[in-house]
Amino acid sequence: MDPMNYIVLAALLFTIGAVGVLVRRNAIIVFMCVELMLNACNLAFVAFARMHGDIEGQVIAFFVMVVAAAEVVVGLAIIMQIFRTRRSASLDDANLLKN
């Protein structure tokens, strides 16, 4: 089948992720949505690698996974910290900083 479909799927996943970031309150879930977006990218990379008959894209995917892992570490640390102070992981509770 046409590899382009994978691209469309990737775009779809990416959008879902983005929408998730917008609609969900819980910081963890929002963060997961971001991860989803990253993985959408991976899918795109792999699919394109296929289309181009080139390996680079697949390699990139691995790199992205590593980066994503790092992000998780940092992210969870921060979210944990604020969760412990506020006893809630809701993003909307955290808005002391505004005009």
Binding site: L22, V23, V30, D92, N95, K98
Partner: protein
């Protein structure tokens, strides 16, 4: 061409005086430099000069007078048409082809004025020594007087219109300072400001006239301007003429710019005598005569001059007839007399001599009258209401005698100064011939009638009849240093006219300078000609009416209501009311309106801009909600913008 030929100094460019040529003339600038120095010394010297300041200030004009006399003899030593000498001093300022120099023109006209100014001026200084003896500001007063003399001399000696303008505004300043000399009196301060402002309006005319001269005729010096006159279009000449007339009206208190003169009487009496009777107010006449070629080239302008002169002559007479304030009455008389001169000057070459001659004699007797009035006021504790005078003749014989002589001269009693000059004006007016001549002539006759009336009224109310003095007034004759000038002026009122007119002495002297026609003055003719007789008749008539009204029956101490004419006359024919209604009130409204516009519109717009920014700031600021997710939304919105701008091609 009529205009040029009879202007001697146009026909042949005047010989530039040099020390070799004539040491006297080359020092002509001292004429005004001396009094100017006096003013400077007194003003800058401060209290140190209090002791001797007034003496110095008195000596300097006398010195100027002496110099003027020398110059006169120098001129008399020259051929009739070589008596116009220009004395360059230095270049004032010049840009491109424009140049205004401090150059003097010494010719019969200017020197006549110089003599009048310095002589009367000196007398006034002497008189003031006594008159201002008690005043704490005496030094300042003399400084201003000197300043005035200097400015006035610059005015008449200038050989170009710009320098003339300097003197013109200079005398205005001096008059402003002297009217407001007793500045702590609000009335005085207001009068001074009024005088300056109205004069400014006139000066505006002169200023624009000068602009036109340079722009169109390409020069500002008398000789060049007049040389260019023949080539100029009628429209230009008319414009210049009318504008010069406007200037003349301002200085000489002619309609419609007359309103300041009567208020100007707030000033000390010597000031009224010197500035507002003898010299400054006659500057308008000088200007018209000096600018003769222009008026001669613009018939309509000349007609305007005649009209203004006639109207002012009558108006002044009427006002003078109703005022009970002796100085204001005299001021009205001054208006009237100057109106007569202006009228004469408006006649062109035919009237120049008469106008100037009358100007000079008037300078003498009117100054004398004012000094007399001053002396009377001195005696009456500065009271000015003639209704509280009366019967002073015995108490103040010298004053009475001198005042009387001035009186007889001004009303034109035959063979006194006034008669000669007035007669020549009358004859000149009738000389025009036709209805014009008739109308103007009769106007002058009417003027003469009024003169006879109000002056008699003044004398009767002041010196004759029963005393109507206020409590605690003990009239006494004034000290010598006040009476001596009065006597000298009285002598002038007595004989000057004859001296000038017999054998057409003055006419012969002046004519070549101003291009006047010389009319032989025949005494016999003056008595036999119809206008001469008419003049005598109105003279008698005027005196008689005055006698009937103010001597035969006692004078009321408070003015009776009087007819509407009297009321109008007392109110100076509503001149001030008109000014207020036409200029002052609209001006105030305009000012208020603009101030509001400034605050509520222009400045508000600027401040509004700032406020607008601040509002939109807090508006846009609300987007910063503090909710991370809304930020994400904004970013997505941004993504849309990015996408749009990438796809849409401009």
């Amino acid at each position: 061409m009529a205009v040029t030929q009879h202007h001697a100094y146009l026909a042949a460019e005047p010989a530039v005086a040099t020390a070799a040529d004539s040491p006297v003339l080359s020092f002509a600038w001292l004429l005004f430099a001396l009094p100017l120095a006096g003013a400077a010394i007194l003003l800058l010297g401060g209290r140190r000069t209090d002791k001797w300041g007034h003496l110095l200030a008195t000596v300097l004009p006398i010195a100027s007078f002496a110099l003027a006399a020398l110059i006169l003899f120098d001129l008399l030593g020259r051929a009739g048409d070589a008596r116009s000498v220009s004395v360059p001093v230095y270049e004032w300022f010049a840009v491109g082809d424009f140049s205004a120099g401090v150059n003097l023109l010494v010719d019969p006209l200017s020197i006549s004025f110089a003599l009048l100014i310095t002589f009367v001026g000196s007398l006034i200084h002497v008189y003031s020594i006594g008159y201002m003896a008690e005043d704490p500001g005496r030094r300042r007063f003399f400084a201003y007087l000197n300043l005035f003399v200097a400015a006035m001399l610059v005015l008449v000696l200038a050989d170009n219109f710009v320098l003339l303008f300097l003197g013109w505004e200079g005398v205005g300043l001096a008059s402003y300072l002297l009217i407001g000399f007793w500045q702590y009196k609000p009335t005085a301060a207001t009068a001074a400001k009024k005088a300056f402002l109205i004069n400014r309006v006139g000066d505006l005319g002169l200023l624009v006239a000068i602009m036109i001269m340079f722009a169109v005729l390409g020069a500002v010096s008398f000789s060049e301007v007049f040389a260019a006159v023949p080539g100029a279009s009628d429209g230009i000449l008319l414009a210049i003429g009318l504008l010069l007339l406007l200037g003349a009206c301002g200085k000489s208190a002619q309609l419609p710019l007359q309103a300041w003169l009567l208020d100007a009487m707030e000033g000390p009496t010597p000031v009224s005598a010197l500035i507002h009777a003898a010299t400054m107010v006659t500057a308008g006449v000088y200007l018209i005569v000096r600018a003769g070629p222009i008026f001669e080239g613009a018939a309509v302008a000349q007609t305007a001059v005649l009209a203004v002169g006639a109207a002012t002559m009558l108006a002044g007479g009427i006002i003078a007839s109703a005022k009970d304030d002796i100085k204001k009455s005299l001021a009205g008389s001054t208006m009237s007399q100057i109106g007569m001169m202006v009228l004469a000057a408006g006649l062109g070459p035919a009237g120049y001599v008469a106008a100037i001659a009358h100007l000079i004699t008037h300078g003498f007797f009117k100054a004398g009258l004012f000094l007399g009035a001053g002396s009377v006021m001195h005696a009456m504790n500065e009271g000015v209401d003639m209704r509280r005078y009366g019967g002073l003749a015995t108490k103040m014989p010298i004053t009475f005698a001198t005042f009387g002589l001035g009186y007889l001269a001004i009303i034109g009693v035959p063979l006194l100064s006034g008669w000669w000059t007035k007669e020549s004006i009358i004859s000149a007016t009738f000389g025009v011939g036709g209805t014009t001549g008739l109308v103007l002539g009769s106007a002058v006759i009417a003027g003469a009638l009024l003169t006879a009336f109000y002056m008699s009224r003044m004398v009767f109310m002041t010196f004759l009849g029963k005393p109507r003095w206020e409590e605690g007034v003990h009239p006494h004759e004034s000290p010598a240093n006040m009476t001596v000038p009065m006597v000298l002026l009285a002598i002038g009122s007595l004989g000057l006219g004859a001296f000038l007119m017999l054998g057409d002495r003055f006419a012969g002297f002046l004519a070549p300078a101003v291009g006047a026609e010389v009319h032989h003055f025949s005494v016999a003719h003056a008595f036999t000609a119809p206008y001469g007789i008419a003049a005598l008749v109105v003279l008698v008539l005027g005196v008689a009416v005055a006698w009937a009204m103010y001597l035969r029956k006692p004078v009321a101490q408070v003015a009776p209501k009087g007819s509407f004419v009297t009321v109008a006359a007392r109110k100076e024919l509503y001149g001030n009311e008109i000014n207020e209604g036409l200029l002052m009130r609209p001006g105030q409204v305009l000012t208020k309106a603009l101030v509001t516009i400034e605050d509520k519109v222009i400045d508000a717009a600027v401040n509004g801009l700032g406020a607008g920014v601040r509002d939109s700031s807090s508006g846009l600021g609300r987007a910063q909600t503090g909710f991370a997710r809304s930020y994400a939304l904004t970013m997505l919105f941004g993504a849309v913008i990015v996408a749009a701008t990438l796809v849409v091609r401009l």
